[in-house]
């Protein structure tokens, strides 16, 4: 019993202040048991100890047998000597056993103890000294053997082995006491009730270890970043758009955005087209609650969808609203093809068109899934989240967009921006937003922005002086940059490591 051992150790130390050696005081107790008892005593400063390590020689099973009964050759000599007229070689295994006969006969010859006479063995000496047995007996007693040559020889013969033995030099500690009081592992209601807490010794707490893991649920890291973005939008007066609509038409996803029908984005390689259901209806008023239009967007004047459709066709085909248009034959069928939305800008378009019923300043945002028919690799998935913002107001300027972006991105901790002229079919001017990344030491493209084209807005029936900013970025890219995730599949989709989800810290964009 380990607890007995602790008391035995304390007893052994009681005689004097001199150190004791565990190998002497407790020779038969396994050293691991001694160590655990000593550790418990030491943690309470009752003892101090030093670990002594020494190499010892032990006997193998065969070695023990020889120490007890003599070597193989000694056994062979004994029976040969006993056979007065010599011993038939073939009889030897029967008498001493096969193993003794085989090894012992050879060794006895070598040592000159016996000789061969035709088929007989005869003793050549009257008595012998069995050195092997004596060496092994000495080892058994002292656990040491000084002669290196003999060690090597016995080891080769597999009669001895080498091992490490731990011993402990033990002295009294500052809080040495004769008795080891049982440790309590924790404060219990019983101890409080019966007052035993007053005398109880609590097991010392390990301040170097972590506490017990707390079982917890968790939100997904990407959704945590999404919530941070949503909060930024809410702080700045934005209303969330009804993006719960994955399937769009060519009209809402492209044509209404003044994306020409031959634009590469509309290729099969880039856009998911829908085979079933087959074809959409031309734009019309959604039934109520599909999706729920926010109350303040309910139209005062019913919107003329036919007029909108015709305007879009004309502005592409022949030009309108001061634009010369793309001047190509516009196909209604192409416009009625169903697609998985390639951007949430289709929803912004839907919302801006609703705004035409009652044109007024508005701020919209959304963060939702979009679909691209991409080949999947470390930075591309067929699905990702688009963060999108829209501001409609009278007399907006390009400098206002830049100023707004500076405030918006400062809220997520990006303070140095610059803007590059860019091309986008539905915004003019278009600006790519670059942010300086201190960690990477370079400018990184963080989003796209611009003012929606008059061709798009005026087709909806919005007044010419109502200008609209739009900007967008992916949710995944800034998250990957911020948190050093190099593979998008580690962030979105079923291959994400659950452990990563569970241990991902809270998101603080402005601080991280």
């Amino acid at each position: 019993m380990a607890s007995d051992l602790t008391n035995q150790i304390l007893d052994a130390l009681s005689a004097s202040d001199a150190p004791i050696l565990s190998s002497e005081a407790f020779p038969s107790t396994p050293s691991l048991n001694v160590k655990s008892a000593l550790d418990r005593l030491e943690s309470r400063q009752m003892v101090q100890y030093e670990t002594l390590e020494k190499e010892i020689v032990t006997l193998t099973a065969e070695g023990q047998e020889i120490a007890a009964n003599g070597s193989h050759e000694a056994k062979v000599f004994a029976v040969v000597l006993a056979a007065m007229d010599g011993l038939k070689i073939s009889d030897l295994p029967g008498i001493v056993g096969k193993e003794n006969a085989k090894v012992g006969q050879g060794n006895a010859f070598k040592r000159g103890w016996i000789k061969k006479d035709k088929d007989l063995l005869r003793a050549s000496a009257d008595s012998i000294v069995d050195e092997t047995q004596q060496q092994l007996l000495a080892v058994q007693k002292t656990k040491t053997l000084d002669d290196k040559k003999v060690v090597a020889d016995l080891k080769r013969r597999k009669l001895i082995g080498l091992a490490k033995e731990l011993a402990f030099k033990i002295t009294k500690g500052p809080k040495y006491a004769r008795e080891f009081v049982k440790e309590q592992t924790d404060l219990t209601p019983e101890m409080i009730a019966n007052g035993s807490w007053k005398t109880a010794h609590l097991k010392p707490y390990n301040f170097n270890a972590k506490g017990a893991p707390t079982p917890s649920g968790t939100l997904h890291p990407l959704n945590k970043v999404r919530q941070e973005f949503r909060n930024i939008f809410f702080d700045m007066g934005f209303e969330e758009m009804p993006t719960n609509r994955f399937v769009e038409t060519g009209f809402w996803n492209f044509d209404a955005l003044f994306v020409p029908q031959q634009h590469p984005a509309r290729d099969l390689q880039d856009t998911f087209y829908i085979s079933d259901p087959a074809v959409a209806d031309p734009p019309r008023e959604d039934p109520p609650n599909e999706p729920n239009p926010p109350a303040q967007l309910k139209a005062d004047n019913p919107l003329d969808y036919k007029k909108y459709w015709d305007n879009v066709r004309e502005v592409h085909e022949h030009g309108k609203f001061g634009s010369i248009g793309y001047r190509y034959p516009w196909s209604a069928d192409e416009s009625l093809r169903l697609v998985l939305r390639t951007h949430t800008t289709s929803i912004s378009t839907y919302m801006l068109h609703k705004l035409a019923a009652n044109p007024r300043p508005a701020r919209f945002f959304s963060i939702d899934r979009v679909f691209r028919n991409e080949s999947v690799d470390a930075t591309h998935l067929a699905e990702f989240h688009q963060v999108e913002g829209v501001i409609a107001d009278f007399g907006l300027t390009l400098g206002g967009l830049i100023g707004f972006m500076e405030v918006f991105f400062a809220k997520m901790g990006i303070h140095k921006l610059r803007f590059k002229p860019a091309y986008n079919p539905y915004t003019e001017p278009s600006m790519e937003i670059f942010g300086y990344h201190d960690g990477l030491g370079k400018w990184v493209e963080i989003g796209n922005s611009g003012m929606f084209r008059p061709e798009m807005l005026e087709s909806m029936g919005l007044p010419k002086d109502l200008r609209v900013y739009g900007w967008g970025l992916s949710l995944e890219r800034p998250t990957m940059i911020k948190y050093g995730v190099s593979n998008i599949r580690e962030l979105l989709g079923h291959k994400v490591d659950l452990h990563f989800i569970e241990t991902n810290p809270a998101i603080r964009l402005e601080k991280d």
Binding site: M236, F246, L338, E428, M451
Partner: protein, 593 residues
């Protein structure tokens, strides 16, 4: 966005100075193109024993066809830097104008054609390579892989006008194609090029048509078989001095743009720079008889007040005109209205459609990053979340607080994952199906959140059990009553994976979420005070028999089934390669709106 590779030393020579990579990057940034790479310090390929000189790889906005070649980039940057005057493109007036006579049958396959001649052009190795590369870039981009427009270029001195543009049965067209030695007819040509790495992909444009478009000279020499290949006879070389450019098309606008780009970019190498010899197109049957190319600048008006308002500036009309000059426009304040400037849009600037494009160029010339910055007025907008998202967040947060981990699988999945593997049958009226997925992973828009949850467990088998995961997100269903023939539905789903079935754990989660949504459990025979829910044993092949329930709510006195939960059937587990039992829950949260 196309990327153009230009010789660094040659470009800097054109620009009249050396730039460091950073300086040139800055210039590109301000102008609105992007330096992708400077290969000076990279491992450059060795061609014909010589290492390629350092290149600048420049990304070009997709609508700036005038920047698709070295000549255009150098010209436009020089104009932007104020080093070059605006070129004045001129058509010559030849004594006898070359003609392309169009036959009516071409309307059956490729109805439009244009022509132009660059006389006394001087090629060298670099110019020649750029001339070929521009055609290639135009073919890839604007011409949509030659489907809409294709270009043929010929040594005019090897053929003789007038030319005819015809459409003939393939068998009747016989010629030796470019760089070949043997003559073949149209059909043979298709077989010959079937496996060709570059040309093979264009054959489909005309292959199955009963007639192929073809351009002949007056000696019945085939100049080209658009949009596939030219004849060998008229091929151009470094020594060619008179180049005939013929362009055929399905789309008139793009034909016009391609013509303009080809001649404006390379007329600078003619004896008298920027002169182009026109070609007369005779095409009476479709009223397309005209002289091409049309390089006259387009005149447009732009409002000073509009430009100033959008840019937040107060520039005078003259100042705006000066800025526009940097962007290759000739502009003059109008003599009739103080708010109007008259802008000449050069043939190179096909991207300008509206005065907003002119306004943008004023802003670029002024410098985006120099524009006066402002914070847009907040015109009393009210922030608000989308109601369904607000509801979802309640369910998400409550479930996470109850000890479940949120996962975010993909919305697209395979047909089997959505149906067969869950022991569900596709009735053809449920799921939205994709027409052109690149892999079988993406065949349908999910109608259930279960496949994503089960795949997430499958990919996380190294995780300790039990695993408790959930998702609140959209699925989509076909709905033919709607404009888009489909609708999303917000679902909540959870799955328990462990050594026990977890049936009661999932049931407990349902109770907890219902409680948080202020929906009481309705025991048999009780009358509910407010909204309530109850469950009933369910026979559903997705679940283990006898261990599944449908979830019913009574909201506003109306009963509705909103989902189900249960122990998943072992055959479902087998399909998803799961070793331990799974209990799952899925319901439509829109009932609680």
């Amino acid at each position: 966005m196309p990327t153009i590779s230009v010789d660094k030393a040659a470009l800097f020579q054109e620009l009249g100075r050396e730039y460091t990579t950073e300086e040139f990057d800055e210039l590109c940034f301000e102008f609105g193109i992007e330096l992708d790479e400077d290969t000076t310090n990279s491992d450059r390929p060795i061609v014909d024993g010589k290492q390629e000189p350092p290149q600048l790889k420049i990304e070009i906005p997709a609508n700036r066809y005038d920047l698709l070649c070295f000549e255009g980039i150098a010209l436009m940057l020089n104009i932007f830097l104020g080093r070059n005057p605006l070129p004045e493109y001129k058509l010559t007036q030849p004594a006898r104008m070359e003609q392309i006579i169009v036959k009516e049958d071409t309307t059956k396959i490729r109805p439009y054609v244009a022509g132009a001649i660059l006389r006394n052009i001087k090629f060298d190795q670099a110019r020649y390579a750029s001339f070929i590369a521009l055609q290639d870039k135009l073919h890839q981009n604007l011409a949509r892989q030659r489907t809409l427009v294709s270009i043929g270029t010929h040594d005019l001195d090897t053929v003789k006008g007038p030319f005819t543009y015809e459409a003939l049965p393939p068998k009747d067209i016989k010629f030796t194609p470019l760089n070949q030695t043997q003559e073949m007819d149209g059909e043979e040509l298709m077989n010959f090029y079937e496996k060709h790495q570059q040309l093979g992909k264009y054959l489909h444009i005309i292959r199955d048509s009963p007639v192929y478009p073809v351009i002949y000279d007056s000696n019945r020499t085939v100049c080209s078989l658009p949009p596939i290949i030219n004849g060998d006879r008229s091929k151009i070389s470094l020594d060619t001095t008179n180049v005939l450019i013929e362009i055929t098309a399905l789309d008139k606008t793009k034909l016009d743009i391609v013509s303009k780009m080809m001649v404006t970019m390379f007329s600078q190498y003619t004896l008298e720079p920027f002169t182009i010899e026109p070609v007369e197109i005779v095409s009476e049957h479709n009223n397309e008889t005209r002289v091409t190319p049309d390089i006259a600048p387009r005149t447009a008006e732009a409002e000073v007040s509009y430009i100033n308002q959008c840019c937040g500036l107060s520039l005078s009309p003259a100042e705006i005109c000066t800025l526009l000059k940097k962007m290759a426009f000739r502009a003059k304040p109008s003599t009739t209205s103080p708010d109007i400037i008259n802008v000449e849009i050069p043939p190179t600037r096909a991207d300008v459609l509206h005065q907003c494009d002119i306004m943008e160029d004023v802003a670029i010339a002024y410098g985006f990053n120099s524009l006066p910055r402002a914070f847009p007025n907040i015109s009393g907008t009210v922030a608000q979340p989308l109601p369904i998202n607000k509801l979802s967040d309640i369910v998400r947060v409550e479930t996470a607080m109850a000890g479940w981990s949120e996962v975010l699988p993909l919305i697209l999945c395979s047909h089997d994952e959505n149906f067969g593997w869950l022991n569900r049958k596709d009735d053809g009226n449920t799921a939205v199906k994709l027409a052109n997925p690149k892999t079988l992973e993406f065949q349908v828009v999910r109608t259930s959140l279960l496949p994503g949850l089960l795949k997430t467990i499958r990919e996380n088998k190294h995780h300790s059990v039990p695993m408790k995961i959930f998702e609140v997100s959209d699925v989509a269903f076909k709905d033919l009553s709607l404009e888009r023939k489909s609708r999303n539905e917000r679902h909540f789903a959870a799955a328990f994976y462990g050594k026990t079935s977890g049936f009661e754990v999932v049931h407990g989660l349902l109770d907890r979420v219902m409680a948080m949504l202020k929906t009481d459990f309705l025991a048999e025979g009780e009358t509910p005070k407010g909204d309530s829910y109850y469950i009933k044993e369910l026979d559903d092949p997705t679940y283990f028999p006898g261990h599944a329930a449908s979830i019913h709510v009574r909201i506003g006195g109306k009963d509705k089934v909103i989902g189900s939960f249960g122990i998943l059937h072992p055959t479902v587990l087998e399909k998803y390669e799961l070793k331990y039992p799974v209990s799952s829950l899925e319901l439509n949260v829109e009932a609680f709106m």
